[in-house]
Symmetry: C2
C-alpha cells in the first residue's frame, strides 16, 4: 500500500519536511499551501526535490470556502482556484483538496452547490487537475461525508471525486460502514488521523489534538477496511494536526508517523484475512526476562538488592556485568558505561519467538541494537525504543541460557517473587511515540490515563500492558518544567511486612513516608490501629478497592531509579495511584536541600 | 476585604506554599487535604507556622462523596469525617468544605440528603467545626448552588452553611443573581476562579484550565457583587486548578494570584460605588511616549533607524543613551548594559497622571523600578512588568520634558509617523501573569487570541489594547520547545512604497520574503500585476479585509528585536496575522545556517 503524509504534520521548513518524509520511507506527500507559501524554493525546485527524493506529490491542500456562494463570489473563487491550478502545474501536483465551505457559504441548495463544483471541475480539467471534495466536520452546510458524496454524484464530472478523512467522519460519530456504498474510483484521496476521545468542540479537537493511528481511540482498522472494500487504491495519507508534533524533531516525527501506517495496514489486513502489508506477528511478552541497570558505579544498587533479599548470582564471565535474582526477578547491573548516573537502560522480555519479535520491530522502523556477543555466550537480539531504552527478546528459559554465563555467585533460591510492573518516565514530547512503539511492536494495550499531582505539576500516568496483565508498564509523563521522575522496578512478594522487616534489619533506609499519610489512611480506610502502626513503622503504603489490597514500599532513589516491593491481595488490579503524590513529594524532598 | 487562597493553586511543598502566600500578602489559606497528607510537618507544626506567618487557616478541603448514600455508607462516611474533624482540631481549622457527591450518591431525595447533612453538622458541632456545603458542577444529583442552598435550609443547623464557587456556577451558566436570595451569614465560604470560555466537558475545564480573576471570560465583578449584596463577609478566596500554575515558581505565582484579588475587589467596589478596597484609578495610556532598546553595542540599531528615516536627536547629557525620532515615535538606544544582545527593555507611556499610574501598579504589587536621575533631569517613574520589561509613565509632553536632555543631534522633523503597535513575546508560563499585569495595571483589554503556525510550532497571539485602540500590544506566546520569537516595534507611515524605496536606497536589507508569498497574494487578492511586482521588489507584505488594507515590511532582526513599518488604509483593524507565518519562517531562516 502506498503511504503519504501532509507536510502540516511536521516541524521545520518545507525542504526539511520533504527530506524527513523521504528518510522515513513515505512514498508521497500532501503539500500544504502555507508550507509552500513560506518557502523560498520555487514550485519547480520543490517538484525537482520531490523527484530526487522519490516522493510523489499526492495532494495539494487545502482550498477553502469555495462552494455554496453567490454568483459574484463564485467568479472570484474560480479566479482564486485558477491561480492555484497554475501553481499546481508548476509543482507537478495533480489533485487538490477542496474542503466544504465553513466560512462564506450562503446557499444551502444541493443543485446549486453541485453546479458550482462542476464549474470548478471543468476549470480544473483544463489544467489536468482532479478535485477531491471533502466534508469538514464543521462545514456550514456540508459536514457529512455522505452529503459530500451526493454532491459529487450530482455534479458528475470525471475529475471530481471525494476525499475521506477519518477524523471528520469518526469525530462526528458518522457510521463509516456506508463508505462501502461509494464508488472506489471516486474516492480520490484518503486522510487518516487518530484522536483521543475528548468531549470538546470538534474544531479545537481537530486542530490541536489529532494523533497518529494507534495512539488514540478511533477504530481506524475498521475504518480503513470500509475504504478498501469500497475499492480505494490510492495512498494511505496522514493528516495530523497536533501541537506537539509541530514542535518535535522532524526526522524522528516522520519516522514515528510512518510506523503508524505500517501498523495500521497490518491491522486492517489481519482483520480481513488479506495477505498484503502483513507484519511478522506481534509477540506478546510472556514475562519480564530481566531488567538492566546501567551506570559507572552500581555499588549502591548491589547494596539495596542485597537488603531486599535478592541473591547475588555472580559476575558475567566476559563483561563488567553482575546478576541479582529474587524468584523470577532478574536484575542485571551493567558497569560498562560512560554515563555515571545509574539508570534503567534495558528490559528483557520472554516471548514465544524472539526472531519474529525482532523482525516485527524492525519492520516497524525500530532500530535493531548491536550487542557484542562473545564465543559461547547466548545471543540476545534487541530493539531500541524511541527514548533509547533497549528491549531484548529471549524465547528460551533464562536459567538455561544467559544466566549460566554468570559465575562466582550464590545458587538460585526458589521463591514466588516476580516483576510486578516496570514504571518508565518520559518527557512530554516523547509520550505518544512511546505509546505507539509499545502498542505496535509489542502489542501492549493502553489503559485509561490518570493525572497525579506532584509538587512540580501534574504527572500523567498511562499504563501499557499485555491483555493478560502479566507484563505491565506504567508510563509517566513529566510536566514540561519538572525534572524527569525516576523510573522504577516493582517486585511482588507474599508477605511484605516480613520482607520489609528483614530489609530494615539489613540496613535498608526506606523512602520516608510522612506521618500525615497514616492519619489520612486511618481516615479513609479505618484500618486497625495496630496494623496501621506496623505500616507506619516500616514506611509501607496501602491502598484498597472492592477487589483487594495493595501494600508497598519504595527504596530511596539511586541515580534515576528506585525499587518498589508490592504485595497484592484478592484481585486488586491497580498500582496504588492514590499513593503516587506521596511518593513524588517524598522523592522531591530527598533530592532537594532542606530549607 | 480579607484574602485567601487554596494551596492547590501553587507548586512546591506545603511549607513552600504557605511562605509564598504570606510573602504575597494573603490573610489566609485553604489547606488542601492532599497537601497536608504529603507533608512531613505535623498538623501542629503547620498550625504554628501559619500563626507565625500571620495566615489564618480559613478552610480545610475537600471532603468528598458524603451525602445521598445508603445508611451503611453513611456510617462509614461519618467515621471518615470524624477522623478529619480530629485532624482539623489539631490544625486549628474551623471550616471544612464538603462537595456534593459526584461518586457514590444513590439517593436523590432532598429530605434524606438534608438529614444526612444535618447528621454531619451535628457530629462536626462536637468539634467546633462548620460545614460549608458546595454544589460541584458535576455533582451526581446536586450540581446547582440553589439546590445546595435548599438542602442547607432544609437541614437547618447553625454550623451548616453553603460554599459558593464562581466556576461551578458560571461554567454551568447558572444565574448568579439569585445568590442575593441567600442569607449572607449562611454563605460560609466563597471561592473565586476565572476561566477562558471553552467548549469542553466541565470537569476537564475545571481541573486544568481555571485562571485567576481578570485572566478569563467570567464576569467576576458582577458575581462578587451578588455575593457581597447577599451579606457575605468572609474572605475572597482563590481556588484555581491550572496545569501551568502548578508548575511555575511558587513565590511569583502567589504574588500573581494576590494581584488578581486586589484588582477584582477594586472592580466590584467601583461598579457599586463603594469606597472600600479602591485602587488609584487606572490611567489608560494616551500614547507611547518612547520605546527603549538596550544592549552593549547598538550600532546596528542606529544604522537601521537612519535607513528607515528616523532623525538622530542626540546623546543624553549624563548617560550612555541616544535618541532617535520619527514623528511621535521616539526610540531610545541605551548602551548602559551588561547584556550584550540588543533587546526591547522598556516602554514609556503617556498617561494623564503618572503618579496615579505608579501608585496603582504598586498597589497591585508591581515593583517600582529605581532609575538614577541626575540634577536637572526630568524624573520618570516606572514599574517592572512580570518578565522584567520596564514600564515608564510620563504625564507631560516628551518634547518639553526628557527630550530636551538629549544634545548634539538634529532638530525634530514634523511628520505623522507614530507607534502603531509593540509586539512583545513571552515564554508559555509567563503568559497569564502578563495578561493580568497589562489588564489590571494599565486597563488594557485582551482581544480574542489566535494561533499562528511557525516552523517550530504554533505561536499564540493575544492583542492587549486600550479601548480606543491607540496603544496596542500584541503578545506572542512561544511554543515550549521553540526559542522566544523576537519582539518588535511597528511604526505607521502614509506612503510605505516611498518609505521602503528610500530605505532601500540608504542600504536597508529588508527581511527577505519568498516569491511564493507573492504568488499566493495574487491568488488570494487578485492584485494588479504592477502593484504586486512593486510589493515583491521591496519585500512588502499585504493584507486586506472588508474595512481596508494593511501594507508592511520588516527589518532584519537585531539581537532580540526588529522594526516593522506599516501603512493602514480605510479602517483596517488587524495586524496582518495572515502574514505572520511568512515572517516567522523568514526569521528562522535568517537565524539558522543554510543546509
Amino acid at each position: 500500500m502506498r503511504t503519504s503524509i501532509a507536510t502540516v504534520c511536521l516541524s521545520g521548513s518545507l525542504t526539511d519536511k520533504l527530506q524527513a518524509c523521504a528518510d522515513a520511507g513515505f512514498d508521497g506527500v500532501e503539500i500544504m499551501d502555507t508550507d509552500l507559501t513560506v518557502s523560498y524554493e520555487s514550485p519547480e525546485e520543490i517538484r525537482a526535490l520531490c523527484q530526487r527524493l522519490g516522493l510523489r506529490i499526492d495532494l495539494f491542500q487545502p482550498f477553502r470556502d469555495f462552494e455554496g456562494v453567490s454568483e459574484e463570489l463564485l467568479a472570484e473563487n474560480l479566479r482564486r482556484a485558477e491561480a492555484k491550478f497554475q501553481l499546481m502545474n508548476r509543482l507537478g501536483a495533480e489533485t487538490i483538496l477542496v474542503c466544504s465551505n465553513a466560512g462564506t457559504a450562503t446557499v444551502d441548495d444541493d443543485a446549486v452547490v453541485a453546479q458550482q463544483l462542476a464549474a470548478l471541475a471543468d476549470l480544473a480539467a483544463g489544467y489536468g487537475i482532479r478535485i477531491a471534495y471533502e466534508a469538514l466536520a464543521w462545514g456550514r452546510y456540508v459536514n457529512d461525508y455522505r452529503h459530500a458524496w451526493r454532491l459529487v454524484q450530482l455534479a458528475d464530472r470525471p475529475n471530481l471525486g471525494t476525499c475521506l478523512d477519518s477524523f471528520h467522519i469518526l469525530a462526528r460519530g458518522h457510521d463509516p460502514a456506508e463508505i462501502e456504498h461509494i464508488d472506489g474510483e471516486k474516492i480520490f484521496f484518503l486522510q487518516l488521523a487518530d484522536a483521543p476521545q475528548l468531549d470538546m468542540d470538534v474544531l479545537s479537537w481537530s486542530r490541536h489534538h489529532r494523533l497518529f493511528p494507534g495512539e488514540g481511540s478511533f477504530d481506524l482498522s475498521g475504518f480503513l477496511t470500509h475504504v478498501l472494500k469500497a475499492g480505494y487504491t490510492g495512498p494511505l495519507s496522514l493528516e495530523v494536526f497536533n501541537d506537539t508534533f509541530r514542535q518535535t524533531d522532524v526526522t524522528s516525527t516522520a519516522a514515528h508517523a510512518r510506523r503508524s501506517l505500517t501498523w495500521l495496514a497490518d491491522r486492517a489486513s489481519a482483520a480481513n484475512g488479506w495477505s498484503t502489508d502483513r507484519l511478522p506477528s506481534a509477540q506478546s511478552p510472556r514475562s519480564v526476562d530481566f531488567v538492566e541497570i546501567t551506570g559507572s558505579d552500581l555499588g549502591a544498587a548491589d547494596e539495596t538488592l542485597d537488603q531486599l533479599g535478592f541473591t547475588f548470582r555472580g559476575k558475567h564471565r566476559t563483561k563488567q556485568v553482575r546478576l541479582w535474582t529474587l524468584g523470577s526477578t532478574r536484575i542485571i547491573l551493567n558497569e560498562q558505561s560512560q554515563q555515571p548516573a545509574p539508570h534503567l537502560s534495558a528490559i528483557g522480555l520472554l516471548v514465544d519467538d524472539a526472531g519474529q519479535a525482532l523482525a516485527r520491530g524492525a519492520a516497524l522502523g525500530a532500530p535493531v541494537v548491536f550487542r557484542r556477543t562473545y564465543a559461547g555466550d547466548h545471543e540476545l537480539r534487541a530493539l531500541g525504543a524511541p527514548d533509547g531504552t533497549v528491549i531484548y527478546f529471549n524465547d528460551a528459559p533464562a536459567e538455561d541460557t544467559w544466566v549460566t554465563e554468570f559465575e562466582g555467585g550464590q545458587a538460585a533460591v526458589e521463591s514466588s517473587h516476580a516483576v510486578d510492573h516496570i514504571n518508565l518516565s518520559y518527557r512530554w514530547h516523547e509520550f505518544e511515540e512511546t505509546v505507539l512503539f509499545f502498542h505496535s511492536v509489542l502489542g501492549l494495550q493502553a489503559q485509561t490515563p490518570e493525572n497525579v499531582p506532584s509538587p512540580q505539576g501534574l504527572v500523567r500516568s498511562q499504563v501499557m500492558r499485555t491483555a493478560d496483565a502479566t507484563v505491565r508498564l506504567p508510563l509517566n509523563l513529566a510536566p514540561p518544567t519538572a525534572p524527569l521522575p525516576p523510573r522504577h522496578i516493582a517486585v511482588t512478594c507474599t508477605d511484605i511486612l516480613e520482607l520489609a522487616r528483614r530489609a530494615q534489619e539489613r540496613g535498608l533506609r526506606f523512602l520516608s513516608i510522612p506521618d500525615n499519610y497514616y492519619a489520612d489512611l486511618h481516615a479513609r480506610f479505618g484500618l486497625d490501629e495496630d496494623y496501621l502502626s506496623q505500616l507506619k513503622t516500616l514506611n509501607l503504603l496501602y491502598d484498597r478497592d472492592a477487589d483487594g489490597e495493595f501494600i508497598h514500599f519504595y527504596t530511596p532513589t539511586i541515580g534515576g531509579l528506585f525499587l518498589e516491593m508490592v504485595q497484592r491481595t484478592g484481585t486488586y488490579d491497580g498500582y496504588g495511584a492514590a499513593n503516587a503524590p506521596v511518593r513524588l513529594a517524598a522523592q522531591r524532598r530527598q533530592l532537594r536541600p532542606l530549607r
